[in-house]
């Protein structure tokens, strides 16, 4: 009897704790979305729903420019770091060559570099040696690769480590070129990891503030930095509207990625699976 009640108490405590945590996590996001539709400005006290802030956000010059810049930067940085990172992860995971361990640590090293330090250093680098790179999409994308590479190498590397290299070797033995063997045997198997790495890299680059804030002038900059700079000046419902659009966009992208990942996984299940692979 007492065991049963103490179990019930524990379950209740657990439910309470989880509800409180969920509230803690979701409340700041919910309040942004709710405020974006609110009719009156901060202290006004007026009521009603309005789309006015969305109209204002989408016609506010730094936000529209920022949206364009952020998208361009994120596409470019994601493309470069996924290609370069996958190449490196493949070499480190599959090919046997001296110096693999130092390389492995080199590729995770950027994680211990504070982003502000990276941003400051690249700013100083551009300003003193390559003035043409300051304030350009390419300059920021180059900087973002530093943040994205460790992540891509880790995710793709983990996926490669879970595969059986014998399959690709068999393709090679049957006469496939290295590139064909990679493209037709290994690539389909690591597609879910590549997809995850791409989506996460894109969002990381798109949302990046700490490095980007150093690399572009305040009037033409990426969207999160433009929002940050505007918030530093004053609070304003336009930012809630833009934030809500960003929340919706991120969730949509994540949902699309989840659906795509499930498709890929289903396709993999229906093709003959790699049998009798390796057990440690």
């Amino acid at each position: 009897m007492s065991v049963l009640t103490s179990r019930r108490v524990l379950a209740a405590v657990r439910a309470l704790f989880l509800t409180a945590t969920a509230l803690f996590v979701l409340l700041p996001l919910a309040v942004v979305v709710v405020n974006s539709f609110r009719g009156a400005t901060a202290a006004g006290g007026g009521a009603g729903l309005t789309l006015r802030w969305y109209r204002e956000a989408l016609s506010y010059e730094p936000f529209t420019t920022g949206l364009l810049y952020s998208t361009q930067v994120a596409v470019l940085a994601t493309l470069i770091s996924v290609v370069v990172g996958t190449m490196a992860a493949y070499a480190v995971a599959r090919l046997d060559f001296p110096g693999r361990e130092p390389l492995r640590s080199l590729f995770v090293a950027p994680l211990s570099l504070p982003r502000v330090v990276a941003g400051f250093c690249l700013f100083v680098l551009y300003a003193s040696l390559f003035p043409a790179a300051y304030g350009t999409v390419g300059g920021i994308a180059f900087a973002h690769c530093l943040l994205l590479l460790p992540f891509v190498v880790a995710v793709v590397g983990a996926a490669l480590a879970g595969l059986d290299p014998a399959l690709e070797e068999a393709a090679r033995d049957l006469g496939a070129s290295p590139l064909a063997a990679f493209a037709r045997i290994t690539l389909p198997q690591i597609r879910p990891a590549l997809l995850a790495a791409t989506v996460f890299a894109f969002l990381t680059s798109f949302d990046e503030v700490d490095t980007s804030v150093f690399l572009m002038p305040a009037d033409t900059t990426t969207l999160p930095v433009a929002m940050f700079l505007r918030l530093e000046q004053r609070q304003d419902p336009t930012v809630t509207a833009m934030s809500s659009l960003l929340i919706a966009g991120s969730l949509l992208l994540a949902a699309l990625a989840a659906v795509a990942a499930r498709r890929v996984a289903a396709a993999l299940v229906h093709t003959p699976a790699p049998q009798g692979a390796h057990s440690p």
Binding site: F17, V92, P114, V124, A127, A166, E232, S243
Partner: protein, 320 residues
């Protein structure tokens, strides 16, 4: 040709390489080293690794060189080739303001790390223990989806909540633009990152140790203190390390929630750039880098000390 390759393979079956461990002995075999196919393998590897490795080396080297050279210039300059000067370091090391900023950074980092892990630990435990799949899936989504959303947006959410007409202004009235508000928002930002190492650590708990402790009559508190915590301590330390390192270098959240009143290192670097005090910013960036690396090294050390698994023969076998 291909047939030949296949027959060579058949004679000397390759060990399965999962993480490079098993294939190491081959490397020292002189016959294999001279094998042209092997050399072609090295070339391919070099070609694949080169772009990323060169990029990282270039950035790291220029970072260290630029920071060092800038920090030895006179305080107010933006030119790289200004005269050599130790005044910046001199000021930094004797200035009460800098010491205050450093202390605030470390204090906020430590508070956030401890609070975040205190919340993250039970969340990770529940995530692994809840049996209804939709509930654990929902919890997973709730806990991890904020990672997808910009830090600026999340910090703004806290500003709205703590503002004079916000939901939480009543109970937490004075937190906005003060340190507690910064800590609160940072806990929110870092929570997902704290959960990941804990999940791994709790999941790899040897089967049945808690049940065994219960059967032997240990109270729940005793099971937590003497079994669960020691066994998952490496995860706790990894989690503390990650949150501490991220918080110490956080920029956007302390700037927005602190409203300029809570000065941390990252923000100070940014402000000095804007006031064209590049050497001061460079020196502070070096201090920040030093703090981050010290945090990582210290916790790595602690993590190794806290790993009690190798001292528990029963647990080691149960894992196999």
């Amino acid at each position: 040709m291909n047939g030949l390759r296949a027959s060579v393979r058949a004679e000397a079956p390759e060990p399965v390489r999962s993480d490079g461990g098993p294939s190491v002995p081959d490397r020292n075999d002189p016959k294999r080293r001279k094998d042209p196919k092997r050399r072609r393998g090295y070339l391919l590897a070099a070609a694949l690794v080169a772009p990323g490795a060169l990029y990282l080396l270039l950035v790291f080297c220029s970072i260290v060189l630029l920071l060092l050279s800038y920090s030895f210039r006179t305080e107010r300059t933006s030119r790289l080739f200004a005269p050599f000067d130790t005044g910046t370091w001199n000021r930094l090391l004797h200035d009460a303001y800098t010491a205050d900023v450093l202390w605030t950074t470390l204090r906020v980092g430590a508070t956030v790390a401890v609070l975040t892990v205190l919340i993250a630990y039970p969340v990770a435990w529940c995530l692994l223990r809840i049996r209804r799949w939709w509930l654990s899936g929902l919890l997973m989504f709730v806990v991890f989806s904020p990672i997808l959303i910009s830090v600026v947006v999340r910090s703004y959410g806290w500003i709205l909540l703590l503002a004079p007409d916000g939901l939480l202004h009543g109970p937490l009235g004075s937190w906005l633009y003060h340190e507690p508000g910064v800590v609160l928002a940072l806990v929110h930002v870092e929570l997902p990152f704290a959960i990941v190492p804990l999940l791994g650590s709790i999941r790899s708990l040897p089967d049945g140790v808690l049940e065994a402790a219960a059967d032997l009559g240990a109270s729940p508190w005793r099971r937590l203190r003497s079994v669960l915590l020691p066994l998952t301590m490496p995860g706790v330390i990894a989690s503390l390390q990650l949150v501490f390192a991220l918080t110490v270098s956080a920029f956007a959240t302390p700037s927005l929630l602190g409203g300029g009143r809570v000065a941390v290192l990252a923000q100070s670097v940014y402000q000095n750039i804007q006031q064209l005090q590049w050497p001061l910013a460079a020196a502070q960036a070096l201090v920040l880098l030093g703090v981050a690396l010290t945090v990582l090294a210290t916790f790595n050390r602690l993590g190794r000390l806290a790993d009690v698994r190798h001292r528990l023969p029963a647990a080691g076998q149960g894992e196999g």
